[in-house]
């Protein structure tokens, strides 16, 4: 109350002063009144204030609405309205909301945000969408058309018909006619059903479903048959979506497991620290982003070689420091590498932080591509699927086409024979382990985009990795690929009806039963190498 009084006194003082200083004060006092109507306690009053701004012909209206929507329209302690340009830290750079001139930095203690809630956010978005219908920028018009679907009322129907006439872009035109058709459908117009047929958009479906449960028998029939067609298409899309989810989960499993498929599968080393090598790759991505602030995309791309190197070097250290002394003693190797995994985790906790680190997704990995209205594929997952396949192809190439690959296969199949042929088995051991570890690092780089980068990252993937390798058949890269992808798909198919917890259990039980039947996995190694 006291503050209100203060502002009232202030405005008494400010108006004559302002009038002297500025010739256009008349114009601005109207604008101030508009903004003042936003700085009120109840959200209902704010909604009225927004409506007033929409009705006013002020050309700054859209800017104000956008600033309000973004939470950047604020009021300073001296009563001025400002737009905050960056709200990080304790002091924020601001500009005047009326004139747009920069006002330097203000402390957050001195600024009062004009708060909005989700209802106002909806109102603002619709208001901006209506303004943007006439925008010259095509992307704005597209967003506007997208927004107006299902929000057309009698007031908007008239102007909208005109806009559709004058619109050049086909997509905008189609969307807007659908939006208009939903309105016509609500008015009970049977012909509108034809315009909506085949659209997979949820709002269209809702509108049709509502019409199908109405009173008018003609309309009900038309809506029902349109709805049936839509439901059929949606079923197909849902199946495609589940498949995509499965492949995406599967590609994560493949990435996490493929390094292990080399160290465990090919070399036969049970490396419990494999998960922590993945973690190192993820932390490398984080470190890269710290080194290159503001360029998350570039940092991510550079993290691919860097993550590989860091994890490979760590792998070499582990191999030279511990594993080489424990050759042929799997139980001791298991315990020693488990110890290493704990050491690495605690090291990260002490040196960096026990808290998770933020890894930013670059622009080109955020959001999704809409295939149609019912199916959109998330971009980050798509990149990871591609990356997993690329890593797999690269590994296959190394194992099949290079001298290193040949030597690795020779050493693992018959160490003594290979050595007598002049192959330096120790060197091959180091390189193989480095390769497997480096690939784990690559997995970490990819996982940093999907999950938390923290000290526990590795633990979450170690069990899954062993599961995939054993299921696929130890020593077989193809097996790992097929096993990872199929486990992913099985999991995602089961999840909707069994729940996430049960789906995991079912998959685990399935693998246990499968291994009972076929102990060597999906693709067992054949020949003499498998006997040893």
């Amino acid at each position: 109350m006291r503050r209100l009084l203060f502002f009232w006194l202030l405005s008494l003082l400010a108006v004559p002063l302002g009038a002297q200083a500025q010739p256009s004060a008349d114009d601005d006092s109207a604008a101030i009144a508009l903004l003042e109507a936003l700085d009120v306690g109840s959200f209902a009053d704010k909604a009225a204030g927004i409506e007033a701004i929409v009705q006013s012909d002020d050309e700054r209206a859209r800017g104000w609405l956008q600033a309000l929507l973004d939470g950047r329209l604020q009021r300073a302690d001296d009563g001025r309205f400002v737009v905050v340009l960056d709200n990080r830290g304790r002091d924020w750079p601001v500009e005047d909301a009326l004139t747009g001139e920069p006002l330097g930095e203000m402390s957050r203690r001195d600024l009062d945000r004009i708060g909005i809630n989700n209802a106002l956010r909806n109102q603002l978005r619709s208001a901006i969408a209506v303004v943007d219908l006439y925008a010259p920028d095509l992307t704005l018009r597209r967003a506007s058309a997208e927004r107006l679907l299902g929000e057309v009322d009698a007031d908007l129907a008239g102007p909208l018909a005109e806009v559709i006439e004058g619109e050049e872009d086909a997509r905008v035109r189609q969307r807007l006619s659908q939006a208009l058709a939903i309105h016509r459908l609500e008015q009970g117009e049977v012909a509108a059903v034809a315009d909506l047929e085949g659209s997979l958009h949820p709002r269209v479906r809702v509108a049709l479903a509502r019409a199908a449960s109405g009173d008018d028998p003609v309309l009900v029939d038309a809506a029902r048959s349109a709805l049936n067609g839509i439901e059929q298409m949606i079923k197909v899309n849902r199946a495609a979506e589940t498949l995509y989810f499965g492949l995406s989960l599967g590609s994560v499993l493949v990435l996490a497991a493929i390094g292990l498929a080399i160290t465990f599968g090919v070399m036969g080393v049970i490396n419990m620290a494999h998960g922590e090598l993945i973690m190192l790759g993820a932390y490398t991505t984080w470190a890269m982003q710290q080194l290159l602030p503001g360029q998350p995309g570039l940092a991510l791309v550079l993290s691919v070689p860097a993550g590989f190197l860091v994890a490979a070097l760590a792998g070499i250290a582990i191999e030279r420091g511990v594993i080489q002394f424990l050759k042929g003693r799997p139980l001791e190797t298991l315990l020693a590498t488990f110890g290493i995994s704990l050491i690495l985790q605690q090291l990260v906790r002490t040196v960096i932080s026990p808290q998770n680190r933020t890894v930013v997704s670059p622009e080109w990995m955020s959001g999704s591509i809409a295939i149609n209205d019912a199916l959109s594929l998330t971009l980050n997952r798509m990149v990871v699927i591609g990356f997993a396949l690329a890593v797999f192809a690269g590994l296959m190439l190394i194992m099949r086409r290079t001298r290193l690959g040949l030597e690795v296969r020779a050493v693992t199949q018959n160490r003594a024979m290979a050595r007598s042929m002049g192959i330096r088995a120790t060197r091959v051991d180091i390189l193989t382990f480095a390769l497997g570890s480096g690939v784990a690092g690559l997995a970490g780089v990819a996982l940093s985009q999907l999950t938390n980068v923290g000290p526990n990252l590795g633990q979450n993937y170690i069990i899954d990795s062993f599961m995939v390798v054993v299921f696929g058949g130890v020593g077989n890269l193809w097996g790992t690929l097929v096993a990872g992808l199929s486990l992913g798909v099985i999991n995602q198919v089961l999840e909707p009806w069994a729940g996430a917890v049960l789906a995991k259990i079912i998959v685990l039980v399935f693998i246990i039963l499968f291994i009972q039947k076929r102990p060597r996995g999906l693709f067992p190694q054949k020949g003499r190498a498998a006997e040893g």
Binding site: F43, D70, G71, N87, R88, G89, R90, R109, D112, R113, G115, N117, N118, A119, R121, N122, R125, P202, R203, R205, V206, A209, R210, E241, T242, F245, S248, L249, V252, Q346, R349, P354, Q355, N356, R357, T358, V360, S361, G367, S368, S376, T378, L379, N380, R381, L450, T451, N452, G454, P455, N456, N460, N491, Q492, E495, P496, G499, A500, V501, K504
Partner: protein
């Protein structure tokens, strides 16, 4: 070996008491004053929960240091005793025993997960210790030795659901949670509440549980999207705990679920958790707490400044459980002053009715059921990782230990004042411990 070890542990408090008594008799008052008051801190500094609990350890250390600067308590200095239970539930019980029996601390601030609290409960009751528990929890508990400074369900979940129903007009509900006791009990209360109070039909409630640390949210988020596109206003009530929230919110953003269409209200996501996420696409999603860092009061700004100074990190954030420790610590200090001693039974009696300022511009009072009064705030996520308060209860809400919406606990109240001194008094049968609510709740969970 084990037996004799136990015996000495049990005998120890007795001998100490005798010793102290004889010392006091021999004019050892001056000596006793030299002794610092010991404040135990039982928070995980390693393992899964280190993410959340480390800052709470720092908070208590900061509060102890501040109290010492102001001259300590009863003319004595305070000393923090820190142990690390390493996110390992049985280890919590061992460390609690170590604090109480070995270090003989006067009070303990600690725990985060309900399962760890359940693990230390018998230890605190056996050795008669004091525990201040700072995290929102599922209720259905009131121990003589524990003070619950976090929210009970009626101080967080129920008001949040009311807000969504009354202000946002939500008609369909997704109850998504991590698979353990807090989300399961909370969701059971919420389900009963929604059906009883708002008459929500069963097909309009979707319940979903995921394991700790779940990272593949594609299917669940897609299901939420479908569930929410049936024409009725839909909201997600999330009791998803810990770092599983980061991939969950990422997936929400990537699948384009907008807060204005399907808002997610979270009970375990605070400023600390949001530091791991780019909040740009999450603007408008909600959280219900009793404190937000964005609260516009001088007490809060002072607390934030002190915290930034203590951590030396300009970007350091504060959160709700930190405020709970702030309140709990000040309440305990006030009770010690009132009782004139740190002796557990005296402090326990003195603390009921103590009121101290909270950080949101009001007062928090300790109630006879060992829960405190709190305002309930609903905040919307902003693009700078902060919450903007959009709604709050007109006055503070008294924490209810036993939910009125579960059949087993409906008739129970807790009152630790004389002469009742009972944590689960059954009003219907008029007897203490007359109900098997806890067992019933557990049996219902098991089904």
């Amino acid at each position: 070996m084990t037996l004799s070890h136990r015996k000495t542990l049990r005998l120890r408090p007795l001998t100490t008491a005798l010793l102290t008594a004889s010392l006091l008799g021999a004019g050892g008052q001056a000596l006793a004053q030299e002794d610092p008051i010991k404040v135990g801190i039982l928070h995980s500094l390693s393992g899964t929960m280190a993410i959340s609990e480390t800052v709470l350890k720092d908070t208590v250390e900061m509060l102890v240091a501040k109290q010492n600067e102001e001259g300590g308590l009863l003319g004595r200095q305070l000393e923090a005793v820190v142990v690390d239970p390493a996110s390992n539930w049985p280890l919590f019980a061992e460390r609690a025993r170590e604090l109480l029996a070995q270090h003989e601390v006067d009070v303990v601030f600690g725990n985060w997960t309900s399962v760890s609290r359940k693990a230390v409960l018998p230890v605190f009751e056996e050795l008669n210790g004091l525990l201040f528990y700072p995290v929102q929890y599922e209720g259905e508990e009131s121990s003589e030795n524990v003070f619950y400074t976090g929210a009970a369900p009626n101080q967080q979940a129920i008001p949040a659901v009311n807000y969504l129903h009354d202000q946002v007009g939500v008609e369909r509900w997704v109850l998504a949670g991590t698979d353990y006791v807090y989300p399961r009990t909370t969701n059971r209360i919420l389900e009963a509440y929604l059906q009883e109070e708002f008459g929500v039909a069963e097909e309009d409630i979707l319940v979903n549980y995921t394991p700790f640390g779940h990272s593949d949210w594609q299917n669940i988020v897609a299901e939420i999207r479908r569930f929410g596109s049936e024409g009725k206003k839909t909201a997600v009530v999330s009791t998803i705990n810990g770092d599983a929230n980061v991939p969950f919110y990422r997936e929400l953003a990537n699948q384009g679920i907008d807060a204005a269409d399907i808002p997610v209200v979270a009970f375990s996501v605070g400023e600390q958790e949001l530091t791991g996420i780019d909040t740009g696409p999450l603007v408008g999603h909600l959280a219900a707490w009793n404190y937000f860092m964005s609260v516009d009061t001088d007490a809060n700004y002072d607390f934030i400044d002190a915290w930034i100074e203590w951590t030396g990190d300009e970007e350091a954030v504060t959160n709700d459980p930190m405020e709970a420790h702030y309140i709990g610590f000040n309440m305990w200090a006030e009770a010690v002053r009132k009782a004139g001693t740190t002796e557990v039974d005296a402090v326990k009696d003195a603390i009921i009715g103590v009121a101290v300022p909270n950080l949101t511009g009001g007062y928090a009072a300790m109630m006879p059921n060992h829960h405190i009064t709190k305002p309930v705030l609903i905040g919307e996520v902003q693009d700078n990782g902060q919450f903007d308060i959009v709604w709050q209860t007109p006055s503070t809400v008294v924490g209810d230990a036993w939910s009125d919406y579960l059949p087993g606990s409906r008739d129970l109240i807790a009152d630790w004042r004389a002469p009742m001194r009972c944590g689960n008094y059954n009003v219907a049968s008029g007897s203490c411990g007359g109900s098997t609510a806890a067992e019933e709740a557990e049996a219902a969970l098991a089904e």
